[in-house]
């Protein structure tokens, strides 16, 4: 099972974190910091897999973003790379050639999409069509609920 997934930028800024095991916040921060530094110093042609504590780290860089997953000994590294890729494809499809900014400004959407793909650290639905359909259905529900607050809110928050 996947224990967590982190998305961070080339500058080391964490953009998204999803934890499938419960850790105290302090430990999460420590792990995040450690992995970001470890991965950022690695060169492009290096292997995408790392041994880290008793877990396996699988990471891949897409443009300015690093996707990093921690999986258990039993899990398949190559397919984890493809989970990441499928996630990127989904984001791309949804946002229309996704960039880091989309994820920053719509982080909640990024989470919702991830929840459809992976649940409890295991792959839930690998079909791109089905996931996109589910997200579209969510959006539809949202739109039906007229955004009453939309007009009152002009950045005064």
């Amino acid at each position: 099972m996947m224990q967590f997934m982190l998305l961070f930028s080339r500058q080391g800024k964490l953009r998204l974190q999803k934890w499938y095991v419960a850790h105290p916040d302090k430990l999460k921060k420590k792990i995040t910091r450690e992995l970001i530094t470890t991965i950022l110093v690695r060169k492009p042609k290096m292997c995408s897999f790392l041994e880290w504590r008793d877990l396996k780290i699988v990471y891949k860089r897409y443009a300015s973003l690093y996707f990093c997953c921690a999986i258990e000994q039993d899990d398949n590294e190559l397919l984890t790379l493809e989970i990441v890729h499928r996630y990127v494809e989904l984001l791309d499809k949804y946002f229309g050639s996704v960039c880091e900014l989309d994820i920053i400004f719509n982080f909640e959407k990024a989470y919702f999409i991830l929840d459809e793909l992976l649940l409890g650290g295991e792959i839930q639905e690998t079909s791109k069509k089905i996931v996109l359909k589910a997200i579209a259905a969510q959006d539809l529900l949202q739109e039906e609920e007229t955004p009453q607050g939309f007009f009152d809110d002009h950045g005064l928050g």
Binding site: L14, C47, F49, L79, L81, F112, E122, E125, S127, G149
Partner: protein, 937 residues
């Protein structure tokens, strides 16, 4: 600002922009604090917020949290959002909770209520939201609250597919939190049959669940094997167009394939049904065949997905370890990957080949790739890949290639990365020892290790070379000569000085005939290093010097000079000062006979598993190093979970239990004159290794009777019988444990470990002689245990015995008959002095302990008598006016003191009760003796 999708929250977007525009960390914090204050006031304010506003603020808090700031409010508002009837508000509420709420939050009850409502919703999107939340948090309370509903959702005919998928994974999460939630019985078959579901997504999710269930209860879920094989067979024979959206870059259902292959690794090859077995082999062959086909796409996604399935298939082939043909094909396939362009594939191929090297079918096939692997170790750009190559070389090493592989590893070590040096040193040391046919080669290798990577040579490694040299006469002269030469180097590593010092001290005489290494030369050579060394090494050298006085009387004065110099304030280190003065006195006072006896050559060390192996195992608990060829698993029906999960202990503790722990600070024994001389003898085992895990069940019932007797069968099951004989004198005890193998196969990795806390060990010192790691079929082996009572203690030490029976890890824990009463010396006295002492000792409460308890069985006073005598005290008859009462007296011997102890046991037949009173000069003794004896009646 990029476009915001859905019903974007403008306020949130503005806030995020603001943060991004902050020029400095300070500015960002200022902006965040302003926002936090604003949100706080809104939440506290009199105006009720509408759902949209709540959602927006909760979302802002979430964003702030994700930036790395702590959030200590807003949870309640988030929980409120859960009960909103607007989906988007609900969704944000759930998101906040899954990211920010800990499983033990007080809010969990409220959350559970909201989830309940959503689970009951007719809208599957709402149901899924609730399921996702459970799967994200998965607390124990949730397991209790939803343990009934979710299995129903999973197997019910009218549940929609998307909900089924979430329910399967949700159940998996809850099962991981509390294993008892899975219903058995008819549910089992219904869950297994999800493997036949039409919807691939459902099957994929269900397979993850079933995999976890199988690990817990392989027998019950055995039916899944044939279904999994059929499903797999349908996938691998499908063309990529058949599975539509479940085909990923021309690979049919890679996720499901991998999951099914993984699931099958929980079982041994299905033997009872040759049809299933044949079908499975066909699948595996097909997968291997497909690997040879030209790629259908140049995209890396295609190759990754295809190879992910291939590697998983190879894992299964290795796991089954029964089809020679498949194993060799797998090996050839991996061999091709070793020179693939993709670093990832090379890495995985090296890793997977490590496992192949341990199968007798493919070990030879792996060896064919030795050259490429050596090249990988030297040439790979990425250290993690080089590390894998080292692992593989280690795994493929055997008698035939050991010299070459060890030499290559030594060569590489000169330039190896710091991060892998220590592990490499251990590996080289292990291989050199294991495959040495000629121990001069072994000595050369270890000295080379010290020369090349001295800093990474741990104590265990240099202790080990000394043990081996001491145990093997034929290599001693060579070792002395070689260390002598090595020490000639102007800058040699301190570890070299240690080994050299020790070996010359023992065997310097063997090379003293040669003028170039005469006693004086040896001594001067060693002493020239003295000032460059740490106190610990200096201490060792001083011991070497005193041994020199014995070996070479002609240099006595020279050595004594050095002792004189260091026996005073010039040696700031007290240990060194003391050693120097004691050795000096010894050399002055003792006659040459006495000297020869005191400084006699060290006795041989008991043969034992290399302690280095244990260190290596400890270093990599997740990935046990392997250099063992497994025996073939014959394809018999085993109802058992395979070799990967020891039944009673967690894998990490097993690594520890295997370890023969080394005291971290060996020089701590510095208060005894022998100091470092003892170090080598003490390396092992008197520190208890791992803490007892709760699952280990000490076999107490049988143990009870050993409080009152010294010999008998301590433990017995179908595999093994453990007997004990013991004798005690004063504060010393000696136990002989007899391990009898009742089976007709050898018990491997046979390791008894002492379980006795450090604190307790200071009160009762236990020394165990090690035993051979293999207990042959039908054989019996004795292990001697020495005990010394220092101070009074409670309870008694246990032995955690682990071994492999047919490759199945076994674990037995039993207590040693070493309770405090064993150190009793019976004392006779007359009535007068008994009562005088009794009265005396009873004056303060601290000294007595009393228990009144119900008889556990019939009150047979005749039977009680031998028990009391066996307890170790003197039974004083005709002293108590009541003939039914027992009174006893004894002295407990401890190193620190002797404690006199009186006891009176008063049976009350009518009430079927006993009253037991113990009086002694030490309260803790009274209490423990009282507890021990009370337990007997």
């Amino acid at each position: 600002m990029p476009a915001v999708r859905g019903d974007g929250m403008r306020g949130l977007a503005v806030f995020i922009s603001d943060i991004r525009n902050c020029k400095s960390k300070e500015a960002e914090i200022k902006r965040i604090n302003k926002e936090l204050a604003n949100i706080r006031s809104k939440f506290k304010g009199d105006k009720t917020l509408d759902g949209y506003q709540k959602k927006k603020y909760v979302c802002k808090l979430l964003f702030i949290f994700l930036l790395g700031h702590d959030i200590d409010f807003g949870h309640m508002e988030a929980v409120n959002l859960l009960s909103s009837n607007k989906y988007s508000e609900k969704q944000i509420g759930y998101l906040f909770i899954s990211v920010l709420v800990n499983t033990n939050s007080e809010l969990i009850k409220l959350i559970i209520q909201s989830i309940k409502n959503d689970l009951a919703s007719r809208n599957p999107i709402h149901v899924n939201l609730a399921l996702q939340c459970i799967a994200n948090i998965g607390s124990r309370e949730m397991a209790e609250a939803f343990g009934n509903d979710i299995p129903k959702l999973l197997v019910s005919g009218d549940t929609m597919d998307v909900v089924k998928q979430s329910a399967a994974l949700c159940l998996l999460r809850l099962f991981r939190t509390s294993q008892e939630i899975i219903p058995g019985g008819e549910w089992t078959s219904r869950i297994i049959h999800l493997l036949n579901d039409q919807h691939m997504g459902v099957v994929t999710a269900a397979t993850s669940l079933i995999d976890a269930l199988v690990k817990k209860n392989p027998e019950e879920y055995k039916g899944c094997v044939s279904l999994a094989v059929s499903r797999l067979s349908r996938i691998v024979t499908a063309s990529y167009t058949d599975l539509q959206d479940y085909t990923y870059y021309f690979v049919p259902a890679p996720w499901l394939s991998v999951k099914l292959l993984r699931l099958l690794q929980n079982y041994t090859p299905p033997a009872e049904d040759p049809g299933v077995r044949g079908r499975l082999n066909e699948c595996l062959e097909t997968i291997l065949n497909k690997a040879q086909e030209p790629p259908k796409s140049k995209k890396v996604q295609h190759s990754n997905a295809k190879n992910a399935v291939l590697f998983e298939a190879i894992s299964l082939i290795i796991h089954n370890d029964s089809e020679a043909n498949l194993l060799v094909r797998a090996c050839n396939q991996l061999g091709q990957f070793l020179s693939n362009r993709e670093t990832n594939l090379r890495y995985l191929a090296l890793e997977s080949m490590c496992h192949l090297a341990t199968s007798e079918f493919s070990h030879e096939a792996v060896k064919k790739h030795q050259e490429v692997v050596i090249l990988s170790m030297k040439m790979e750009k990425d250290v993690s890949v080089r590390q894998r190559a080292v692992d593989l070389l280690y795994a493929m090493c055997d008698k035939s290639n050991a010299e070459e592989i060890v030499q290559e590893m030594l060569n590489y070590l000169e330039t190896a990365d710091y991060s892998i040096r220590e592990e490499m040193v251990l590996k080289v040391a292990i291989l050199a020892e294991k495959y040495a046919t000629d121990y001069t080669w072994y000595v050369d290798v270890i000295l080379n290790l010290i020369r090349i990577a001295g800093d990474y040579v741990s104590e265990e490694v240099w202790y080990r070379v000394i043990q081996i040299v001491i145990n093997r006469d034929e290599v001693q002269g060579y070792a002395a000569k070689t260390v002598f030469e090595a020490l000639q180097a102007p800058a040699c590593h301190e570890n070299m000085v240690k080994v050299g010092g020790y070996i010359l001290g023992e065997f310097g005489n063997l090379i003293a005939g040669d003028q170039r290494s005469s006693p004086t030369v040896q001594f001067q050579l060693l002493h020239s290093k003295y000032h460059l060394c740490s106190p610990m090494t200096r201490a060792l050298l001083l011991s070497t010097y005193v041994k020199f006085i014995n070996l070479f009387p002609e240099i006595r004065t020279q050595v004594q000079e050095v002792f004189k110099q260091h026996s005073n304030l010039r040696s700031a280190d007290a240990e060194l000062q003391q050693r120097a003065s004691e050795y000096l006195q010894l050399s002055i006072i003792a006659s040459s006979d006495v000297l020869a006896t005191v400084l006699e050559e060290m006795p041989a060390f008991p043969e034992r598993e290399s302690s280095i192996l244990a260190v290596l195992k400890k270093k990599k608990p997740g990935r046990l190093p392997e250099n063992e060829i497994k025996e073939t698993k014959s394809p018999v029906v085993t109802n058992n979970h395979t070799n990967n999960e020891p039944q009673t202990i967690s894998s990490t503790s097993s690594a520890d239990l295997l370890g023969l722990s080394t005291p971290t600070q060996p020089s701590s024994s510095s208060n005894t004159g022998g100091g470092l001389l003892d170090v080598l003898g003490d390396v092992y085992g008197h520190k208890p290794s791992a803490p007892l895990t709760s699952t280990i069940q000490p076999n107490t019932s049988n143990f009870k009777k050993f409080v009152c007797k010294n010999n008998g069968v301590l433990f017995e099951n179908d595999l093994i019988q453990i007997g004990v004989k013991s004798e005690f004198r004063q504060n010393l005890g000696r136990l002989g444990l007899f391990y009898g193998n009742k089976t007709n196969v050898p018990l491997q990795s046979f390791v008894p470990n002492l379980l006795w806390s450090e604190e307790q060990s200071s009160k009762l010192i236990i020394q165990m002689k090690p035993v051979e790691p293999v207990l042959e079929a039908g054989a019996q082996r004795q292990q001697t245990i020495n005990a010394e009572c220092i101070d009074d203690y409670t309870d008694t030490p246990s032995i955690g015995l682990s071994f492999l029976y047919n490759n199945m890890p076994q674990k037995i824990t039993f207590k040693l008959p070493l309770t405090l009463n064993k150190f009793f010396e019976p004392t006779d006295m007359n009535a007068e002095s008994f009562f005088a002492r009794w009265k005396n000792l009873g004056s303060t409460n601290q000294q007595r302990s009393q228990k009144i308890f119900k008889a556990s069985g019939a009150m047979d006073l005749q039977a009680a008598k031998p028990k009391i005598i066996g307890f170790g005290m003197q039974l004083l008859e005709d002293i108590d006016p009541n003939p039914d009462n027992f009174v006893c007296a004894g002295i407990i011997h401890m190193r620190s003191q002797q404690v006199g102890c009186l006891l009176r046991l008063e049976p009350n037949k009518t009430a079927q009760m006993y009253r037991l009173t113990v009086r002694s000069s030490k309260e803790s003794v009274s209490v423990e003796i009282c507890n021990l004896l009370a337990d007997q009646f």
